[in-house]
Amino acid sequence: MSNKEEKWFRFGKGLSQKRVRGLTIASFILPLLIWSAISYLPVWKPEVQIVEAGDTIYFEEGDRVDRETFQLENENLTTEGDLPMLGKRVNPVYFPAPHEVAGALYSAFVTEPRREGDPWFHESVAHSVRVVFWGFIISSIIGVPLGIMCGVFSFFSKLIEPFVEFFRYFPAPVFGALAVAILGINDAPKVAIIFIGTFFQQVLVIANTTRTVDFSLVEAAQTLGAKPGCLLFRVVIPAVLPKLYMDMRILLGWAWTYLIVAEVVGTSTGISWFINQQAKYRMFDNVYAAILVLGFIGLGTDMILGAIGRELFAWEEGKRSFFSRMFNKNKPVAVEA
């Protein structure tokens, strides 16, 4: 620690751990503050919610009306000698306050579905996760090996990549109707949309990543007697693994973004169904809660995968993973010899 005041803005330089943590928290606090300000302070509030209806025949207690309509109606009422309405300034219904959404985050999970046989919220969430999971897994089972082969052998690269390159420009949703016609109305067409949205990008991304493997490692292995099969499994794949893992995290994010499209294919299901349903009932706090849940699942998964990745690929920074530290203790520290 130096006594000198650390600068906040330094071209291309990092910041201290403490500041990084602070900024990370701030990046979430800031939007929350803006949201709270708009919700709780009289900055916007374009509508009026009626508290007492008075003598009006047009509105009831609890209705939300434009400020202009409210004033106009009240003028009419007073000129005719009737009792005016009482109201409070509010934001539109589609802009719930933080505490309402926070409440909905809990209540959405424990509120019984409106109609018998409809899924609970947690069932909808599980359904969404399942669709993304299978779409991504099936895509990866084929896409990862294919991508690696394309990256290693020109033969596969030239045979497969031109078409994949072409196909990836079809937006996955355009296959919705086809997928339903072929695969029926259950989850299969939804998984197929996630698959189509992920697979073609995946092959290209992984092929490119594989091509970045330092070829001198392969040559070194050759001069140690390694034959092609061994080069693939013991050199190329371990060498590409950290970057490939990173790619997979990004691709999983893309798969998530296809979820909402996939879920409205055929019969609407999952979180999208829930969101549409709640919007119909004008329960916008629940809509926000559902959107937040999507975000939490996405960010949470990525953070967990990131932490696992740092363990798995500790060797990149010359660190030992937690497990190897557990098994062999007291290792020497590197000094110049």
Binding site: L224, A334, E336
Partner: protein, 300 residues
Amino acid sequence: MMDIPNKLNLPSYKEQSAEVKERLDFIKRQPVVLEIDNLVKEFPTEEGVRRILDQVSFKVHRREFLSIIGPSGCGKSTLIRMLACLEDITDGLILLDTYPVGEPGADRGMVFQKYTLFPWLTVKKNVMFGLEVANKSKFDAEREALQWLDIVGLEPYADLFPAQLSGGMQQRVAIARALANKPKVLLMDEPFGALDAQTRAKMQAYLLQIREKIDITIIFITHDLDEAVYLSDRVLVLEANPGRVQEIVEVPVERPRSPEQFLSPEFLTTKIHLEELIHPSAEESKDDFKVVKMVATEEV
């Protein structure tokens, strides 16, 4: 530079002491490990085929230390990569123990200028790589790997990852890894080129020590003349455009070698001779001067 030998009264680089003569004769009586016969390398370029190596022939005997020097871009790396079969042969023959080589193999170990340890394996596992590829049992592989690490003085670092080691240590592991396969010849392409001068000197000492301890034939590429003279029995000078063998110089410096020899007359005279072969400075600058004069007169 040309008149330095006169001033210092240096002997000819061809004068050899009894020790040197006896050792070089002994080497020459050893079996030929590697025979390179009229090797040609051509690369296709935009302006047609370019010949990088032309009719390169030489022999390397068992336990010999042969350095290859030459101006940069003359094809040294291409040549050594051809010996390792990392580069196709356009024409000519490479015989290893009298058999033509066809594909890369553990019988020609290689150490590159770039650090090529596998970063996901510990130092020990790196050295075990070739042994495991050769289907040795894990137990034997581990035992031998530790022995080799001991020879390069890095046994205590066996469980560290390459990223934890300095450049010099990484290259020593790379040497151990190549030697663990018991290659017939060790090919080294500027292995110390990326190291600082101090580490480089240490590495040269290590290499001499290792060579004393084990029976190994080494082909060593360098652009550092001191290094070439200090380490080698013979130095092959490669000419550029196209790469041809210009001369194979027998080093008249006695073994065992030590840093004091850098200033010995036989060391200096050899180095000066090599310098002249690589940079025929006097004639070249004369040529340049002529060209300049021509251009100047034309302009007037």
